[in-house]
Symmetry: C2
Subunit: 306 residues, 2 copies
């Protein structure tokens, strides 16, 4: 096999109660990447279409991630990566994670799969580190493993794949303003109250339980964030109204996707997820703010070979 | 039915990663309570044996909890509670929770079960509030529901019963010094670092997952506490040595039981749990500190009628 074409999906990190640890994988939006073997060792970016990301292999997260892999797994040939970038950088749905994870996944396929999907996380993390200023696996893990994932420890990359209730459907709305993770991270406080921390881990524990038992009501009650959302909400136009509209329309929960500015909601069933999208859209239409909407089931597989 | 005799078990709250939300129920130690119907409305404490707790019904957590229940469920008769107190107050294994939960459970039986075990938590909480200075359901929930429980929200008493891997066995060592919850709570800080909070909720999420999948290794890796344990460890003689001895002997994890001074460990299988107990005992024997040791499987049922 000399080339492989893949779909590398977008993802939602944090999921209200799981800041820096929880994430899930989307299915209706993702980058298309084609990776070819080349005679010359090393890695190059052949072409980038769709969105504007660096073609310099020392600045592109995809090639940086592949370089990390090739440092451990030496080859006497190289790779060329062509990226059709569908996920907007800075949109809050794991644009850099998609590139980094997709690239190492594709290269691993061309190498005959020396690494498991789980093992690929640490190489992809090298790419993410450059993009977000801090290396977190909360987007990478769901992109590579699919479904919901929990990063127990980012330091040791101890990742738990969680089950996914079958009727969950995500709604994502992306207001077309760019928000860099590095900036939305700067707004956070280094200390939080013990009281709100206890509420947060109570909610996360219950959320994890709800995934195992498909208890949609518990899942809904657990989707709370009193720690991060109150600080970041101001960075997102009309956040409070968007969230309220989602909940009023029947969403189980709604919050900031990753570090924003995208807003996500989770609903039981596609019909509700679509209505939630319409309600959110109405708010941005009313102020003339350009936006994208994605309705997506949870992608249980993660990256797919096309 | 005019009288009922029950076993109201001890419990372990916090369980390292779940401060104020997580708890599990013990089986080998608990109070024995007998509750009789009486002609005179109201509630009295008939006798207390074993440990020294107040006989004044306005000061005893058992009668205070029953009064909370009877405020909502009026009766033209009353109750007398006889308590054989086996759990030492201030030992850190839910002494007041056992009394409060046991009393409302027994009264509920004599009333023909108007309330579910889950509904009884809020009455028992009234008793707990007096004993610990702050009303938390993290001991009450496992005593009433059995097994492992998670209090998602203490304010709304949203309680999740979690599954329990079948081979888990607890070791508890109680150094005979009294430590009041109100004092071990005063030592805590009102603010914690976001970094350690993220680690804590990553661990709690993984711990909950490990209970569903009986993944003992993940359970072991998740039993960490960088938030509360470092502050409270100094209140417990030889805590660090005890914990190290437990882990070296094969325990999956070890930490402070509730607010201490008891130290608990969880092991896979009774043989290891016994060895862990011996290793802990040796440390207290070496300094001549009197102590009790309990080896107990997880009590999946909670309070039992005898």
């Amino acid at each position: 096999m000399d080339q492989v074409k893949i779909f590398s999906p977008a993802s939602v990190a944090n999921v209200s109660c799981g800041f820096d640890v929880l994430g899930f994988c989307l299915d209706s939006i993702g980058d298309i990447m084609v990776v070819h073997k080349t005679a010359t060792p090393g890695v190059v970016i052949g072409s980038v279409t769709g969105e504007d990301v660096p073609i310099d292999p020392n600045k592109n997260v995809a090639s940086i991630a592949v370089k990390a892999l090739l440092e451990e797994h030496k080859t006497d040939f190289g790779f060329r990566i062509d990226i059709d970038k569908k996920i907007k950088p800075g949109s809050g749905i794991g644009s850099s994670a998609s590139s980094a994870a997709g690239a190492v996944f594709a290269v691993n396929e061309l190498l005959g799969r020396p690494y498991s999907r789980r093992e690929l996380v640490r190489f992809a993390l090298a790419g993410e580190a450059m993009a977000s200023g801090a290396a977190h696996a909360d987007n990478l893990a769901p992109v590579l493993l699919g479904g919901f994932t929990l990063v127990r420890s980012n330091a040791s990359l101890d990742i738990v794949k969680l089950p996914c209730p079958s009727e969950l459907v995500a709604t994502i709305i992306h207001p077309k303003i760019e928000l860099k993770t590095i900036h939305s991270r700067a707004i956070l406080k280094k200390e939080i109250s013990l009281k709100s921390a206890v509420e947060q881990w109570g909610n996360l524990g219950a959320f994890v339980s709800s995934l195992y038992t498909s208890d949609y009501e518990l899942l809904s009650r657990s989707m709370k964030d009193k720690v991060i959302e109150p600080l970041r909400a101001m960075l997102i136009p009309k956040f409070d109204e968007m969230k309220e509209a989602a909940l009023q329309t029947g969403a189980l929960g709604s919050g900031i996707s990753g570090s924003g500015p995208s807003v996500f909601a989770l609903s039981k069933g596609a019909a509700t997820a679509n209505k939630v999208g319409e309600a959110m859209k109405k708010i941005y239409d009313s102020i003339g703010l350009d936006h994208d909407i994605h309705i997506s089931p949870i992608n249980e597989t993660g990256i797919k070979i096309l």
